[in-house]
């Protein structure tokens, strides 16, 4: 009967109840949505690189090195000479290396010069290796392998020809038009900056810059694509390289040795540590966002209480009738509590449905336009805790109108004030 009363009473006031439900649902969607995105962002962020023990580049801060080598953001301060790279990669503790040469772009997408070790050793997420959705790794100087997003956004297929531009802007005035590259492979989506990368061989990078000097074409001297192939295409320098060690135990030893390398000023960073530091900087924004969401939620809950408190006046008759037929004041207290509980549970369910539908609808757009791979299921054990906390807070807040009902029941008795 109590449940029936609560249900029907709410239904009787469905106009205000629906609005309350609506505002509460919005704040819950915000709370759960932001909490989910936060976790997904962290997940996607930390899964960008895995299995790499050290990243080595010219001496700079670890964030800068991490940003340009892994996230393709910003630029290197200096290069690492090929000779140094060769020397370090022969270190007995080092199992493999991946050279990285950055600085060119293709229609806004960064070009990464590397070698075949990249496709063998690069790992992301939970130690996943790179998969091809079409084609294979490059085996010619003028072959290129596209990241998933590059291929879908620009509509490239295997065999298409693309030209690279010098520099990293979206619009470049100096293109390497004379030496086009052929799409040899397309990678499967990874949800990392890799999807936005154009991969070519180190030799390819060298070839297009043969007739360049100081970042500009040398006047009066052109070397055709075929002529370039005949020349020595061993790179003179690379931007950075990734290192896999024989044993993780050696990480700090090798790091120190590289940092103290005599020939050249180098920095070796631990990607995990650098990622954590970067995330810590971002987490302040993230926490602020969560705080705002919590405030929105509290506003929603307080709004619900205000509506209930306001409705207490028009419900005096209802309360007096219930008292007259023998309802104890506690019964009225519980009635209000139950109404709040019903509203909150309904709002939680509505929020869950809204969130899943929204994520489901946005999943493709987020993946294709932003390279964000969001799990469609926003629920975890923590969501359950959140929901429990929301119920608890609403029950505590509901004591205000519920206690009003209780006190009025004691004071007013059978008097009906119209």
């Amino acid at each position: 009967m109590l449940l029936k009363l609560a249900r029907q009473s709410l239904w009787n006031r469905r106009g205000t109840a629906l609005m309350t439900l609506f505002s509460l649902t919005i704040s819950l969607v915000l709370l759960f949505g932001i909490d989910h995105l936060r976790k997904e962002a962290r997940q996607s962020f930390t899964s960008t690189i895995s299995g790499t023990d050290l990243i080595v580049g010219a001496r700079s801060g670890q964030l800068n090195l991490l940003l340009y080598s892994v996230f393709r953001i910003g630029n290197a301060t200096a290069n690492v000479s090929w000779a140094t790279y060769q020397r370090i990669s022969k270190h007995p503790q080092i199992s493999w290396t991946i050279p990285l040469a950055l600085g060119d772009s293709h229609r806004g997408y960064r070009v990464l010069g590397t070698n075949l070790d990249y496709f063998t050793h690069y790992r992301y997420a939970n130690n996943q290796s790179l998969q091809f959705s079409a084609g294979q790794p490059f085996n010619d100087v003028y072959d290129t392998v596209l990241g998933a997003e590059v291929a879908t956004k620009l509509g490239y297929q295997l065999g298409d020809q693309i030209t690279l531009s010098h520099g990293v802007g979206a619009v470049s005035f100096s293109e390497h038009k004379d030496k086009p590259f052929v799409v040899a492979g397309i990678l499967a989506p990874t949800g990392t900056p890799l999807d936005q990368t154009v991969h070519v061989s180190l030799e390819g990078i060298e070839a297009i810059h043969l007739d360049w000097q100081q970042g500009a074409p040398m006047p009066g001297r052109t070397i055709s694509a075929e002529q370039a192939l005949a020349q020595d295409l061993t790179p003179k320098a690379i931007t950075a390289f990734m290192v896999g060690l024989e044993s993780r135990m050696a990480t700090f030893v090798v790091q120190r040795q590289i940092n103290e390398f005599k020939g050249e000023a180098l920095s070796a960073i631990l990607p995990g540590v650098a990622l954590a530091e970067l995330w810590q900087m971002l987490s302040m924004v993230e926490n602020l966002l969560l705080l705002i969401t919590l405030l929105v939620l509290i506003a929603g809950l307080v709004g619900m209480m205000t509506t209930l408190l306001a409705s207490m006046k028009e419900r005096q008759r209802e309360m007096a009738i219930l008292r007259a037929v023998g309802a104890h004041p506690w019964y009225l207290f519980m009635l209000i509590q139950l109404e709040v509980l019903l509203l909150t549970i309904l709002a939680l369910l509505a929020a869950a449905v809204t969130l899943v539908v929204t994520l489901w609808a946005l999943q493709d757009i987020l993946a294709s336009s932003y390279g964000l791979f969001i799990n469609i299921n926003p629920f975890s054990l923590q969501t359950l805790y959140w929901a429990g906390a929301v119920l608890l807070v609403s029950a505590v807040l509901a004591c205000i109108p519920a206690f009003t009902a209780y006190r009025r029941a004691l004071n007013d008795g059978l008097a009906i004030r119209l």
Binding site: M1, Q8, R317, L322, V325, G326, H328, G413, L414
Partner: protein, 237 residues
């Protein structure tokens, strides 16, 4: 006032018994005192009083919402005034029916659910309650077609009858009616009084009927005037 003592042969338990009852509010220079009032089962009482005469206070006392500062109230032989609030609520649910001036029903519940409310708090079995509710409504002139209607869809006269059905569902010892006819026109009023007393008779329920309308006095054998009970300066409301 002492002339209310009824003359009866059978030693029945009185429906309600008040002795030396005094009630006052801390803030008002006014008090209600009732040295003695006994109503045998099935006997009715008319209380005449205008609004502001302490009527509501008396009704709250009789219904056990408030307790007297002095004296005692017995309901069906049970000490009413000294019980715990929760027990008084239960006792009220079982032994007292209340019919208000108007707007007696919870508008969002169906007619049947409104009637069943009193059974719910009295702990009446659901099926038995429904059965009795239907017969009661039928005898009050409310056919089965109205039973599942929302209470708000009924006319005022019909609503007041539903209120009678609700008040009598548990066969209470006492029915308190607070100006139940004030919203009714003359025809409706007379038929309302008839069915009320008829059904109360059938349940052996004593009716305490409060009204300022002296013309209704003729339905009752006993009368009490609020002015005799209230003493001191009257508060504004």
């Amino acid at each position: 006032m002492t002339g209310i003592q009824p003359v009866t042969d059978k030693p029945k338990i009185p429906a309600i018994e008040l002795k030396n009852v005094v009630f006052y509010y801390q803030t008002a220079a006014w008090q209600l005192s009732l040295p003695e009032l006994t109503l045998q089962q099935g006997q009715h009482l008319f209380i005449k009083g205008a609004s502001g005469s302490g009527k509501t206070t008396l009704l709250n006392l009789l219904a056990g919402i408030i307790t007297p500062k002095q004296g005692e109230i017995k309901l069906g032989g049970e000490q009413f005034s000294s019980l715990s609030p929760a027990k008084r609520d239960t006792l009220r649910a079982r032994n007292i029916g209340v019919v208000f001036q108007q707007l007696n029903l919870i508008t969002y519940l169906s007619v049947l659910d409104n009637v069943l409310l009193s059974g719910h708090f009295a702990g009446l079995a659901k099926t038995a309650g429904e059965q009795r509710a239907k017969t009661l409504l039928q005898s009050l002139g409310l056919g089965p077609e109205l039973i599942s209607q929302p209470a708000a869809a009924l006319s005022v006269g019909q609503q007041q009858r539903v209120a009678i059905a609700r008040a009598l569902l548990t066969r209470p010892a006492l029915l308190i009616a607070d100006e139940p006819t004030s919203a009714l026109d003359a025809d409706n009023r007379d038929s309302f009084m008839q069915v009320l007393l008829e059904q109360a008779e059938a349940c052996q329920t004593s009716v305490i009927f409060v009204s300022h309308d002296a013309s209704l006095r003729r339905y009752f054998s006993q009368q009490l005037d609020m002015q005799q009970l209230a003493q001191g300066v009257q508060p504004c409301c």
